[in-house]
């Protein structure tokens, strides 16, 4: 989903540089209250893991491949603003070291993958999770809503990408939109799957490291298992 240079016109990429730049600036300001000492190694490790995961293109229908973005996962693990910055770091490294995504389009790529697939889908998840947690319990509510909103985040990001391409006059909206949303509704299934797998592994081993988990007081995995049986 990384937009290269040339696909967007200056008014579109300029606007998105402005929107993304100010969102990132706000995130940098916000994390001063939430970035604890223990989050620093986790920030580095999450970014490194997401970089590796984004390299793993998997085949989807018709000679196309897709890769995960894991913007929602980063927000769930670290908190929304730290999660946003994690994806921004990954996108910047991809742009400056690997020419994956253009420099002019970096603002747009941050908007699509860090803000829409990360921050926005996190905000939507927060709304939906609360009533769900009352019925299913915190853990099941978190995992099921993560699956849904990880998928939706990718689909919305691809829709945003299609809108940007058509605003730039690169391709008409009625052609870009169904093509992009169609293929990404398949790629989003992979995103949902990987998000849930990683989230449940972390919940199983170190639930205290999942920022979005607001369940009952936590015990180490071994103790919890003993208590259950």
């Amino acid at each position: 989903m990384h937009i290269p240079d040339g696909f967007l016109d200056p008014k579109t990429y300029g606007t998105l540089w402005g929107v993304s730049g100010s969102t990132v600036a706000y995130a940098l300001y916000k994390v001063k209250d939430t970035l604890t000492e223990k989050k620093i190694p986790l920030l580095g490790i999450t970014a490194a893991f997401i970089f590796a995961a984004m390299m793993m293109n998997f085949p989807v229908a018709g000679g196309t491949s897709g890769h995960v973005v894991l913007g929602l996962l980063a927000c769930l693990l670290l908190g929304p603003w730290e999660g946003l910055l994690t994806i921004v770091v990954v996108l910047a490294v991809q742009c400056f070291f690997f020419a994956d995504g253009g420099l002019t389009a970096l603002g747009a790529n941050i908007f699509n993958m860090a803000i829409v697939a990360g921050l926005l889908s996190y905000a939507l998840l927060k709304v939906m999770k609360k009533p769900l947690a009352k019925r299913l319990g915190e853990k099941a509510a978190l995992l099921s809503s993560a699956a849904v909103f990880a998928w939706l985040g990718i689909v919305l990001a691809s829709a945003a990408c299609a809108i940007e391409l058509s605003l730039s006059g690169t391709v008409p909206f009625h052609i870009a939109f169904p093509a992009m949303v169609g293929v990404h509704s398949l790629i989003g299934i992979g995103e949902g799957f990987i998000t849930v797998v990683v989230l449940s592994v972390v919940l199983q081993t170190r639930p205290d490291l999942v920022n979005a988990y607001q369940g009952p007081a936590l015990m180490p995995a071994g103790v919890a298992k003993e208590a259950q049986s």
Binding site: M1, H2, I3, D5, G6, F7, L28, V31, K32, L35, T36, K38, K39, I40, P41, L42, L43, G44, I45, T46, A47, A48, F49, F51, A52, A53, M55, M56, N57, F58, P59, V60, G62, G63, T64, S65, H67, L85, T86, V89, V90, V93, C95, F96, F97, F98, A99, D100, G102, T104, S158, L165, T170, V171, A179, M180, H184, R206, D208, L209
Partner: protein
């Protein structure tokens, strides 16, 4: 206070162990699995080819990327070239994110200190 310190150290040690394990996974995926990733164009590239706007792609505005297309230059084997660039990418990302985290944490502490000094009475009490 003493107990608190001990508990915090213990918790942080566990976090470092967890982080280490996650890093091993990231390095293994980035190095040894990445050469086996699908080479097909991704969703956007495929759409660009199918809908005829792939030709609009311009020269890179940033032309100094050392490992374009995830290929470490000068290595004949594509697999090794991809794997090596993946390994380097994982380590660069780790370093950049950790430095960003450290800087923000440090700045946050300086900021908070200033706040504490400038406001004598907490607003919440009034």
């Amino acid at each position: 206070m003493k107990l608190d310190m001990k508990g915090s150290l213990k918790r942080n040690r566990a976090i470092w162990i967890f982080a280490g394990a996650a890093l091993v996974v990231a390095i293994l995926v980035g190095t040894f699995a990445s050469p086996f990733a699908s080479k097909s164009p991704d969703g956007l590239d495929h759409t660009a080819e199918a809908k005829g706007f792939a030709k609009k792609e311009a020269k890179d505005a940033w032309s100094y990327a050392p490992m374009k297309e995830y290929a470490y230059p000068g290595i004949k084997s594509k697999g090794v070239s991809t794997g090596l660039s993946g390994l380097i990418g994982v380590l660069i990302t780790l370093a950049v994110a950790a430095v960003v985290g450290l800087l923000l944490y440090g700045l946050g502490r300086i900021w908070k200190k200033k706040d504490d000094e400038s406001s004598g009475i907490p607003l919440s009490e009034t």
